[in-house]
Symmetry: D2
């Protein structure tokens, strides 16, 4: 066992951390008070600087303009970037583009790649991933009503999706739709590329999540597919393999999110520690003298560190032994890290008192929006049950 | 011991519950999506109907147009009204007006009453209570920077307040300001009535709480008092007695809030139960078959019922034996009920999945805004420590 | 609503509390270090004193030598007695005798009563209740292997039971056995009185519970019924009605246990408070200055008080409206109070440090033995699921 | 980063695990029902076999007859051995001997080593460590009343100690006593070797811990030092350096305990999984179908894995960078792992129902005795506060 990081990744992380703190944090206030569009020009400027620094697109292949990092290193990067809601976007590492790019890279036809891949990696356009349906349990992805029926050389797509993150302003959607209704449940759906200017693709609304409908990249769309017709050549990957492909991207995607959540933990922890040493609790004491808060700080530190080591171990297992070996761990970190984050955020908010409730720090934003971490990609409860069933198999 | 409710209060509660469900719930969607002002005309119409039904201002004296309920009955009413964010407002029972009215009724001069009391009870105007300061710990109310200096026959007020709930649109503020800086800490401040159109009263902003700056009654103002000059006759209650008066209103106010939170619990619990029986988890099952969710329902029920009995017992103790006898219990329910509510809300949200994150139910609104329940009127931690210290006195 | 206690019960509780503290607590050390038998003579002396004081058998009818208290008052008594492991025994109120007496009183024939009832109430003999089986889930009482086959005028009983509390030294067992194997599951078993000197009744062992096999009243027997033959007249209650009778005794039994657990809470709470004010944490401070411990004290107080009010409300509902009305509440208090007790015990133990681990206080005894509270009479989980299913019925 | 274990340690762990399961587990029942002395002959036989296998004394130097493992490998061994209460003893790796041996090895004079070291490593004799005092907070080791006064060439020791683990039958005690009362608190005490047959060394009692006074190695003594006189040459290490030496042994000792606790977690987890697949919950289902239990299994797995990775990382940090670098982590794992273990044990016990309460599995033994894990070596709360204060230093 050797927990030492390579000097290369250490240097990268240091540079990134400095950039996030010095260049990205200052944009947060405007983001929280004015919205994504108001700071988009600034974000683009920062993205250009990141490219200059050679820190762009850390997870994508070098020959496509990325840094080509392995999964452990990419996880460490995700932690650094996750400290700000804007971090991943500024470094060209944001979901859902990152995952979409991976799928396109692996399964896209030459034509598909030519049209979308390079511009996505370069950050010139954005994409979205359209899978969850309002009437169906997200935890059971094979229950799906959206269909794509082949008519001549076209797929005609009908259905309703929601939580299509970042659909607002995206150039293209990857839509999951049932193409083979008579197959076994896991083989019914395919992925199809749908340019968002296709007739029949209608952004019904940006969901009003926790009071905010958001905009642009920071939005979750409800989409109606109404006789939405795209050429057969827009099929992404083999027919009926939508779920299989989706599952493959799940491991790296999980690392991305969990390390991002750990980045949020670090930010919240840091804000909490600063707060207690600065805030007067009485004319002669600061909050840092309060032992209950000290206990929270200690517990948060231990819980974060433990969750972090487990996540890094999971990343390493995927990278070294493949995602099948890491299956249990991929479930474990989902609920363990999400709950760790929400506990830490809750404590950080409480320590800030009235200030914690308002948007003068990023805590309230994390608190309300990252509550979704226990829901998307399958709620905690689903992961727990499936993990337990897998474990118990070996006892029968 | 006798837990039976009188037939009168039972009948009142039934009428109120029906009205809330039939007339108030339908306004929530517009409130959540369009805001308070958009539904104000509808709310005023409902208030008129409530008056017609004789259900207006349940806590205020009969001779002033209220129902004159005792504290236990008023608590039960608060629970019913609390099921909707709009409930208390529609029935003329909303904080901070309710508490302000009580103080005015008890301490106001004839002139003050003539000018404010009747119109407040009638709901013709609104008021606010301006106590918390951004730079000071709310948990230590005697740390206060706002001053009111007597110049001739006027008080000249200077300072900054925030979390002045419902300041936006209020006609009058009750301001807590230091008038006697040389007295013992608890005798330094006085309450002063400040009409909000007084020069020097400036609403700096509605605080952006959890992404929403709110409006009108649903807002929390940051107020600058800049050489704000009001006549000496605006002093409310005896000089230097501001904290003493504030503490007296704390008991009934606590019952109001705790029973309101229990109303939120009931609403969330009800939505959770409906959700699980309606939502498909698979082609053949609903969520109601999921045992983890069943456990949440059972735990929520037990925790709500226990917290409710403790709160009612506390209300009864105040009503029967006075607030000094109920001191410990008043601290206990603060953190016990607040945490019960937040746990129940968290479970209800989780059960709703993606739907729980958006404003198509009131859960997400409660989730983000009622997080403050563990903070305002003193954070949990402060109540726990002061309760423990009081308990331990008897062991020395 | 009126939470006032009658002057009579207040006086009774005061007398009992004083007796428990002055006369029973001093016996605990010998009980914990020397065992039940070593203090039995002392216990009998105390029982005689209790009878003298007119405080004997609080739950049993006056004409049979008891105090004839109603369920709420009896609950309050159980709380007072529960503060010591020895309390109920000293006052003639101990399970399982109390429940057995009730069943005998309600269902016993004249002959059965003549033989057992009076001597049981008088505390001259002890009884046990033999229901749970080692191979069967206690939570599913209708799964039962013990049979009682009618041969001529005798029942011949075969099977194995365990957790037959206080079998060691009992004069008689009430055995639950399948007499009607072809009926619906809930109608298969009957209750049968088995004198413990009947051939074929064999106390295999006192279970070694948490390291202690116990003795006499404080033991849990494993019993083999081996062609154990008793006269048909030993049938207790109607044939095949064993479960129905068992369920009826469940409500009052639950109040007994829950209030007893709350008595344990009070004891542990009291010891915890004493400890923190007495124990030095440093040359200048006691543990009472430690804020984390203060928070535990406050949380314990609030949780105990809430659980207590819910239990009293449940007792009142049973007493006033019957156990069917109280069904949900009877499930709620089971897990709510048991878990409250275990949390409070855990905190009290922790506050005592090394002293908490040893038997110089009763905390360690409660800690290890009362862990069973979450298991017997059905584990928490079973109660939660059945409660939830009952609740959800009204939503379909 | 590389989480791969060396083939050598993997092979060692496999051999050890097999031996523990095949040879040690079968002795547990007799241990739990008959006590340590009853199985001592068997244990000695197993120890001989372990020596034969070359698996003896894994943490001690090769030239002294041990395996000479580094701290990470030793931690992994401790996890394997910890699965049984008897594991460490059988492999010559038990506390407090392991720590005492380390101190002797590092600080002992040639004479001291000659007399004690080899026989201790060989397991021919046992030792104990006498530090904690009944009247003093264990969390504040510098509060100490036991004194060792130099009279001529002898130390005369007076004082009372308790929780002197394994004193019963030990050949020698290392006693911490104040030799320099006028120095700064951390420099007052020295370590002194006291053969237990020295006049004035009196084993007052084996503490009755959770109902069991234990015997031999499995006991915790209360010791009176009454004018106990030993030669000056029994001083172990430099004068007044007792606490400094104690602190140095703390890091490796922490790894020993935490990994042992994780071994207990594994055992409990394994028993829990076996139980649910074997135990009928109804005529057609086993407990493994119960989703609440599935959730516990999943949560336990994730919590164990996370705590384990953090502990291994801590061991690695100590091994690679020294204990000062690992200071925070050494505090973190103390309370994180202890609480993880106790949660897992609680779940495992609950899953076993009545069986979990009795000594037919080792769960109840672990449950009651390992509760001390949150107390010894400083209670959780002390570690949390000191960790937080260290963290907050960097924020000032």
């Amino acid at each position: 066992m050797n927990f030492e990081l390579s000097p290369e990744i250490q240097a990268t992380l240091t540079k990134m951390r400095r950039f996030v703190e010095d260049e990205v944090y200052p944009l947060e206030a405007a983001f929280l008070y004015e919205g994504f569009h108001s700071i988009l020009p600034d974000l683009e400027k920062k993205r250009a600087e990141v490219k200059e620094l050679g820190l762009w697109a850390p997870g994508h292949p070098k020959d496509l303009g990325g840094m080509g990092l392995g999964l452990v290193d990419l996880g460490l990067v995700s932690e650094v970037l996750g400290a700000s809601p804007l971090g991943h976007f500024v470094f060209g590492s944001q979901a859902p583009d990152a995952g979409n790019i991976e799928v396109l890279h692996q399964y896209g036809t030459a034509e598909q790649k030519a049209r979308w891949l390079h511009r996505l990696i370069a950050g010139e356009i954005r994409s979205c991933f359209s899978m969850t349906e309002p009437g169906m349990p997200g935890s059971n992805p094979v229950m799906m009503e959206t269909t794509a029926v082949l008519e001549g050389e076209d797929y005609v797509i009908n259905g309703r999706k929601w939580y299509t993150t970042a659909a607002d302003g995206a150039a293209v959607a990857i839509v999951m739709a049932v193409t083979h209704p008579d197959e076994a449940p896991h083989r019914r759906a395919s992925m199809i590329l749908v340019p968002t200017d296709t007739p029949g693709f209608r952004l019904v609304r940006n969901l009003q999540v926790m009071g905010e409908s958001g905009e642009g990249f920071f939005s979750h769309g409800e989409i109606a597919y109404e006789d939405c017709r795209v050429p057969r050549g827009n099929l992404l990957g083999p027919e009926g393999q939508g779920f299989v492909i989706a599952q493959q991207r799940l491991g790296p995607g999980r690392i991305h999110h969990c390390m991002r959540w750990l980045g949020i933990c670090r930010r919240a922890f840091d804000l909490m520690c600063r707060r207690v040493v600065e805030r007067a609790a009485s004319p002669t004491h600061t909050l840092s003298d309060k032992e209950i808060l000290q206990a929270w700080i200690a517990e948060s530190k231990a819980e974060i560190d433990a969750a972090r080591m487990l996540t890094l171990h999971t990343a390493w297992t995927i990278e070294r032994h493949g995602w099948k070996e890491a299956r249990e761990a991929i479930s474990e970190i989902k609920f363990l890290v999400a709950n760790t984050m929400l506990r830490v955020l809750d404590r950080a908010l409480q320590v800030h008192g009235g200030l914690g409730m308002i948007d003068d720090t990023p805590i309230a934003w994390f608190y309300r929006h990252e509550r979704a971490a226990r829901i998307y990609d399958g709620p905690d409860e689903v992961h727990k049950l499936s993990l337990a069933r897998r474990i118990l198999k070996s006892y029968r």
